[in-house]
């Protein structure tokens, strides 16, 4: 569970985020949305420890941290980056296995990697090199790699942007399933209101310059959302419209 209060991030002396506050739902999925360039990725990267916070407070599972001293060493978050960043000299399976903890013997790591590749539907591609697979496959491999890492909160930076609509829908359903099974929380940056409707228990809309959370939209419980007739029904459509409106407002303001 995360509580963030007054998070502030400046990059190159330019304030990107200020006064970002939110509380995550226990075991929930939050979609982070907002105009492009508003700082969604920056928020994720800062939580990951790639960029530093300048002010604020983080409460993680009832433990309080000053955001300024939030470093890279933590193992609370794991990130699926925007670009897959697969190493070209390793096969898909070797790329995924690379994320295994050093304490795990290589054979066990390979087995774990194969299991995850099966889950993301890449079993047939495990011996291919990154240049031999499509962008969508690379994105799935990157997702599998991050899932090798144990963490409390999964951060996803537009993980499905390069994936075709059919596969994307399958992966979204699978991701929700996985998150429910692992009982972890997730923050997912997305541009796609549809994706937010399917995945998110709560939607945070970032806006303004510097950005903060300007709006919060709650979604129906997961059990409801999982039913296909709901996803393609009127209520989901209305929710999607609501998100689009809120985003449009922020776009117009920029």
């Amino acid at each position: 569970m995360i509580s963030a209060r007054g998070l502030q991030v400046a990059l190159d002396k330019k304030m990107i985020l200020s006064e970002v506050s939110f509380d995550s739902v226990h075991g929930g999925v939050a979609a982070v949305m907002g105009p492009s360039g508003c700082g969604k990725s920056t928020l994720l990267k800062s939580l990951m420890g790639i960029h530093a916070f300048d002010a604020g407070e983080l409460t993680l599972n009832d433990k309080k941290f000053q955001a300024v001293s939030w470093g890279k060493s933590q193992s609370f978050f794991s990130l699926v980056p925007q670009v897959p960043l697969l190493l070209p000299w390793r096969t898909v399976e070797q790329n995924v296995a690379l994320a295994a903890d050093l304490s795990i013997p290589p054979a066990a790591a390979a087995a774990q990697a194969q299991e995850l590749l099966h889950v993301v539907g890449l079993s047939d591609a495990k011996n291919l090199y990154p240049w031999q697979v499509s962008q969508g496959m690379a994105a799935r491999a990157s997702l599998a790699r991050t899932l090798m890492i144990k963490s409390d909160v999964l951060l996803l930076d537009e993980p499905f942007a390069a994936i075709d609509a059919t596969t994307r829908f399958k992966l979204q359903c699978w991701l929700l399933e996985t998150i429910s099974n692992l009982k972890i929380e997730a923050f997912i940056v997305t541009h796609d209101p549809r994706e937010a409707v399917i995945l998110a228990d709560e939607i945070l809309i970032l806006g303004g310059k510097p950005a903060k959370v300007v709006k919060k939209i709650s979604c129906p419980p997961r059990l409801t959302r999982r039913r296909p007739e709901w996803i393609f029904g009127q209520e989901a459509g209305e929710l999607e419209m609501q998100i689009r409106d809120a985003l449009q407002q922020e776009f117009n303001r920029v």
Partner: protein
């Protein structure tokens, strides 16, 4: 295999044709043999001088191999040290820039005065000329790799050492090989030039004696020899890099 044979035959015919034109031009233009020797004369000299030439070549080869290996080791140490510490990098860069501004052909006599006519001054000359390109390219490769993969290192929770080992060094390998490619032939020519200035043995000695005796056939023989050796080295390195960089797209088409 078939295309390889065809390519080989084509090259053989080209080389033979070149040699034929060479000897034809000489006889038509009435160029005296002591100015430009015909290919058959050069070939005869090769047969005649085989043992002498191989003795000199062995000497040059030893200096070349020692100097080049030393350069590679030194370049790797320098680039890794510079990569891991900005402080070292600042000073190393300054040194590398200065080291490139020195005209080594003019330093060679000084090295000979200091270190004598043995192999030491040649090896030092190679170290001075060839460490730079390898170190420079490797360092640039490491920096590019870090720019590209530092986020991944954080995601995977790699320690700096593990990131270097698993991400940055493999990613910088192509750049290191580029540097090696440049240095391999460069080192050989440097050695011969240093020997030319003063030495007890080596191809340069053979060359300077041939020049003193007005033996153009021997001079041309050495030139051709160096060309062949350089081509052979380039070929070997290309083979090696294709093998090491099996994952590059251009090595798989």
């Amino acid at each position: 295999m078939r295309t390889q044979i065809i390519t080989f035959l084509r090259r053989l015919i080209l080389a033979g044709g070149g040699l034929y034109l060479w000897s034809l031009a000489l006889s038509r233009l009435n160029v005296p043999e002591y100015i430009v020797p015909p290919p058959q004369k050069v070939l005869a000299t090769l047969m005649e001088d085989t043992s002498l030439l191989s003795r000199h070549f062995t000497e040059t080869f030893k200096e070349w191999l020692t100097g080049l290996s030393g350069s590679v080791v030194l370049a790797l140490i320098v680039s890794l040290a510079a990569f891991s510490s900005p402080f070292i990098e600042k000073h190393v860069r300054r040194f590398l820039v200065i080291s490139q501004a020195v005209p080594y052909l003019t330093v060679a006599p000084l090295l000979l005065l200091w270190f004598g006519l043995g192999s030491a001054p040649k090896i030092i000359l190679i170290l001075l000329t060839c460490t730079f390109p390898i170190a420079q390219l490797t360092l640039a490769g490491l920096h590019n790799a870090r720019e590209k993969y530092s986020v991944l290192a954080t995601i995977l929770r790699f320690s700096p050492v593990r990131a270097l080992q698993k991400l940055y060094i493999p990613a910088a390998l192509p750049d290191f090989l580029e540097g090696l490619k440049i240095s391999v032939t460069y080192a050989f020519v440097s050695t011969v030039l240093a020997e030319l200035i003063g030495s007890e043995a080596g191809l340069g000695v053979y060359l300077s004696r041939a020049q003193a005796a007005y033996r153009t056939d021997r001079v041309i023989l050495v030139v051709l020899f160096i060309v062949c050796f350089s081509l052979l080295c380039t070929f070997a390195i290309n083979r090696l890099s294709r093998r090491l960089l099996y994952w590059r797209v251009e090595n798989n088409v």
